[in-house]
């Protein structure tokens, strides 16, 4: 999996944390979205819109259903890597 997607997800999460006044929290690829970063459904919805803007895809809307469990930053990045690959093929 390309690091570019991990970087994009980390940047989006950093924006979410900053916009919601939680600048003290820092994410790494292995961070658990819910347990480590305390991202709720609104935070995730914002993350997905930010990623749609930076990567041009929304795998949760445009592609088929996302079936793999998404627990970490790396898991989320993998969904985008997959979606972009599918988009290019």
């Amino acid at each position: 999996m390309s690091d570019a997607f991990v970087e994009a997800v980390l940047a989006a999460i950093a924006t979410v944390l900053r916009d919601t006044g939680r600048s003290g929290t820092h994410a790494v690829p292995t961070s658990l979205l819910a347990d480590d970063l305390a991202l709720d459904s609104l935070d995730l919805a914002q993350t997905i819109v930010l990623l749609e803007r930076s990567l041009g895809v929304d795998p949760f809307r445009s592609a088929g259903p996302v079936t793999k469990p998404i627990r970490t930053v790396a898991d989320l990045a993998a969904v985008y890597a997959e979606a972009v690959r599918g988009f290019r093929e």
């Binding site: 916009d19 006044g21 459904s41 609104l42 914002q46 997905i48 819109v49 930010l50 949760f60």
Partner: protein, 451 residues
């Protein structure tokens, strides 16, 4: 001035042409329409010239005898001449703005009038029956309450709200609206029926509008709150000071307290009133005390003129125009605050975030209260997770407050929303833009995601 009784004795459809002719005879050079005002390409159309345009178009209509006519003209004088001529000839007329032209299929048997006032008849013309019913004026709804649709009104209904008493004669009106919209038609018909001068600015650019107000000595400024807010926030203060506006009539959207105060500061000598009207109902009521909303005492009783206001359980305002007419749900949500009912938003404007309702106007008001924010627009952004998210665009003041940066204003806007609003109402997408979007009806769009 013309005796209002003489005007009202004319059949409504022919009233505009009658007054235009009357003024053209008594004061031929009196200006009727100033076009491209506030720019070097300013044009003036006198009552005599306008009467000529009406006569030319009426003659063409009398010859073509179409079942109706669709006005495809773009200049205010051509639109007005075509409408007045159709009324005089007893031909129904459709006034459609650019974004409503796809509705024209409904009127495919009708002739078309362009800017040079030629009447173009369709090739497969329908046999014309007698004029057994009065001619109509067809307009498109603004689409705030659903997809735009055609509305058929009689000339009596179009001119019902026009004020013809002496104090309204010979005034100078700003045409801030599209001349083919219901609101625009109200402005130009009022102006012409009272031998007034209609001032159409060259564009909606705030400085151009402000320059038109001053240079053309506009006394009456009808506007939507969105357009007025843009004018008083962004126009050059020197230009605004040079304007001598005596009356501001707001309509089409809710006028909130901060805007009313801002308008009073920019135009200290102007009387402020806001009109509650819809394309479907026409004018329902008018509030002239400069306060937002309307007096709570008006609810659930018959008002002068027969109108009755009530609310549904969810706060939606219901209007009954007269005792015999049906209740009409307006789509506007009101809430009692002390002695007033204030508008909190439109039903269709509500953004639903994970099942919770957000009224965009409240979020906008919160952000507009932040130092460095000149203007704000809040709308729903589709989300697969929560249905919608609250998205916002803000315009920064120019210059920014001392020591502020775009980033610090953005952070302050988030902070203000977090302090004042429930978590789901706080915008999740916040973009700094140079100008907020405005619909052709002069309102703030609520749904479209930024392109």
């Amino acid at each position: 001035m013309i005796d209002p009784l003489v005007i009202n004795r004319q059949p409504a459809a022919g009233r505009l042409a009658f007054v235009i002719d009357h003024v053209a005879r008594s004061e031929p050079s009196r200006p009727a329409v100033v076009g491209s005002a506030g720019s070097p390409s300013r044009t003036v159309v006198s009552y005599a010239s306008l009467a000529d345009l009406v006569a030319r178009c009426a003659a063409a209509l009398a010859e073509a005898k179409p079942p109706g006519v669709v006005v495809r003209a773009t200049t205010p004088e051509a639109i007005i001449a075509a409408a007045a001529a159709s009324g005089r000839e007893g031909v129904s007329v459709a006034l459609l703005s650019e974004d409503a032209l796809d509705l024209v299929g409904e009127l495919r048997d009708w002739a078309v009038v362009n800017d040079s006032l030629d009447v173009l008849t369709p090739t497969r013309q329908r046999a014309v029956g007698g004029h057994d019913e009065p001619p109509h004026v067809v307009v498109a709804t603004s689409g705030t309450a659903g997809p735009p649709k055609l509305v058929y009104r009689t000339w009596d209904a179009v001119l019902a709200a026009a004020r013809l008493s002496e104090q309204w004669f010979g005034l100078r009106w700003l045409l801030a609206y599209d001349a083919t919209r219901w609101a625009g038609i109200q402005v130009w018909s009022q102006s012409l029926l009272t031998a007034g001068c209609l001032v159409a600015p060259a564009s909606r650019d705030p400085d151009t509008v402000a320059r038109a107000l001053g240079e053309e000595h506009v006394s009456i400024l009808p506007s939507t709150p969105t357009l007025l807010r843009r004018l008083v926030s962004f126009a050059d203060h020197g230009l605004l000071k040079a304007a001598a506006v005596e009356r501001i009539t707001l309509g089409g959207e809710v006028a909130d307290g901060p805007l009313l105060r801002q308008a009073k500061a920019a135009f200290p000598n102007a009387r402020l009133s806001h009109v509650y009207a819809t394309t479907e109902l026409g004018e329902v009521f008018r509030v002239s005390d400069g306060e937002p909303g309307f007096p709570a005492a008006w609810m659930n009783r018959e008002l002068p003129g027969g109108v009755r206001l009530s609310t549904r359980r969810d706060g939606e305002l219901i209007v009954q125009l007269s005792r015999d007419s049906a209740d009409v749900p307006t789509g506007d949500i009101v809430e009692q605050r002390g002695e007033r009912y204030e508008f909190t938003g439109r039903r269709s404007d509500v953004i639903v975030v994970g099942g919770a309702k957000v009224f965009p106007r409240r979020v906008e008001e919160t952000m507009r209260g932040v130092m460095g924010v000149a203007e704000a627009r809040v709308f729903g952004y589709p989300s697969a997770i929560t249905g919608e998210l609250v998205a916002a665009e803000i315009v920064l003041t120019d210059p920014l407050p001392e020591g502020a940066t775009p980033e610090s204003v953005r952070a302050a806007a988030f902070g203000a929303c977090r302090d004042a609003l429930e978590p789901h109402s706080v915008p999740r997408i916040l973009d700094i833009v140079r100008q907020i979007a405005v619909t052709t009806a002069g309102k703030t769009p609520r749904r479209k995601a930024p392109v």
